[in-house]
Subunit: 318 residues, 2 copies
């Protein structure tokens, strides 16, 4: 079982949906990722919070056995984000961002974390992502997220990160924007030419796709989303997905094609739980039995029979 | 092997895409459907064309062994449609529609077709769809398509059709619009309460979903789209999908859950070929060997391993 290092944000989110809203709830890419990954393996978090970060939230992360040595307490307030899903459940409209302590964040990787074999770079300034890569020793897999803001405002820096990572996990719109392509498959081909050997595209309600370079081209895997009748709050679904994805790979210390596919399913499982409640509340009482049981639901959701000798069609007889 | 009756449009399309364009090419819902279904079973087409419908196109349909007794030649020109995909490959912008003979179309089902066990109602006026249902004897499966235009302008009539059909095949946006729901799963629940026991939602680049009423709720199946690097022309993909879907069910004379899943994969296979060229040109030289081989590609595209005893995670040991 290998360890994971995650660097990203810890936040207090305010979220508005059609049916409900919640204010100042625990969020942030590193938070969602680490809580999700903590189901699978030992996880070390590097991030910063303000003096207002609550003791209760700190203790919750500790209760998940997440190593918080790298959690810096800085002068000022914790990063705050307000998002609105009333128009579109797949994509929040950002109403307000207060960087607060995140404006001065300089990731410092504690000595004991520098040899972690699995590294996840949450969605922060690509310059900081590069700084993290320069501080770690010889990781087996470095995975990164990014977002439209960085693709637009710091494209060259994002491309530099891509030359250094093994896996990029982004959403549909970001993939098209990054590659400047209209179809997803063409975008995947282009993004894999930028550096990563693996691309995971998160499609929200439509599931996820995995694209991997192989000797003779591209291996593609697709899985639908778990069919939830009611989604409460999609915030953090992508990071929770990444936590399940990297969590599985690190727990098994595997990065082959078959393991990556299972990792995508575990990512989908974890994300599907995350959206059932605000913040990461659903993961607070989630059992591993429930994780396995939903993994099995994904098998049933995607199963179909092969062509059999009983299948007789008109054009076979011609 | 049961027979299929399809009622819909035969058209001459003009299509503009980013990379190419084509004018006055053979199209229409009944055309795409029947050519696709003809790979699987005997198919009878009921539609109308104008005096300008070319001998060559008539002979092509005959060469597919499609029964054309129900193809009415009316005074006037064949239905024409012009669509533009330059902005969005998943959704055409209609530039021009000339109903021509379609404006006076009254489907008359020839006596010999009235006992066909599988019936597909292409996207035409829901009043005409109802008229077809009243002319057939005791079909095993009636499936229908519709579109935003009818949902907006003739909602009550669409709902009347839904009470009479077994399967509705529509796209994502139409499903949400018809159900007035934002999430696809909630939309599926509502649409199945309108009458059909099965709903197929076509997601374009994201694949397709199948929702079926079962004794204790809803059975859901999802399959990604075949990852084509280059899409030439998506026109008719939905009808070609429906042709593969109904073609498989009719060929096997089965409508159980497992058969429906295979039918969705055959639909996806046929649609993936259709978009590779303009009109239905790719299907002109398609072999059944290629159909089977791509079906097998879908198995590989969606395969992942179950949880195994080798999978050891942190939270298992707690």
């Amino acid at each position: 079982m290998s360890k994971i290092l995650v660097v990203g944000s810890v936040a207090y989110d305010s979220v508005i949906t059609k049916n409900a809203e919640a204010s100042n709830i625990l969020g942030g890419s590193a938070t969602h990722f680490s809580v999700s990954a903590s189901f699978f393996t030992d996880t070390s978090l590097v991030a910063c919070v303000g003096r207002d970060f609550s003791r209760r939230d700190h203790e919750f992360l500790e209760s998940r056995d997440i190593d918080l040595q790298g959690l810096q307490y800085l002068e000022g307030e914790t990063f705050r984000w307000t998002g609105d899903y009333t128009e579109n459940f797949n994509q929040a409209k950002t109403l307000d961002t207060q960087l607060n302590v995140l404006a001065n964040f300089q990731p410092m990787i504690p000595k004991t974390h520098q040899n972690h074999r699995y590294v996840f770079l949450g969605n922060i300034d690509p310059k900081l992502q590069q700084s993290v890569i320069s501080q770690v020793e010889t990781p087996r897999i470095v995975a990164a997220d990014t977002m439209n803001y960085w693709i637009e405002s710091a494209r060259e820096s994002v491309l530099q990160v891509l030359r250094l990572v093994d896996v990029l996990l982004i959403n549909d719109g970001e993939a098209r924007q990054l590659a400047e392509e209209t179809t997803l498959v063409a975008a995947a081909h282009k993004i894999l030419s930028y550096g990563p050997s693996t691309l995971v595209v998160k499609l929200g309600e439509y599931g996820a796709c995995l694209y991997q370079k192989t000797g003779d081209g591209l291996s593609v895997f697709g899985v639908p989303a778990y069919p939830l009748k009611k989604v409460c709050d999609p915030t953090g679904a992508g990071d929770t997905f990444a936590g399940g994805f990297m969590g599985y790979l690190a727990a098994m210390d595997r990065a082959d094609l078959a393991a990556m596919r299972k990792a995508v399913v575990f990512g989908s499982v974890m994300a599907s739980f995350n959206v059932e409640d605000f913040s990461l509340d659903r993961l607070r009482n989630l059992t591993f039995q429930e994780v396995c049981s939903r993994y099995h639901e994904f098998e049933k959701l995607t199963a179909f029979n092969p062509i059999s000798p009983q299948d007789q069609f008109k054009s076979m007889t011609k």
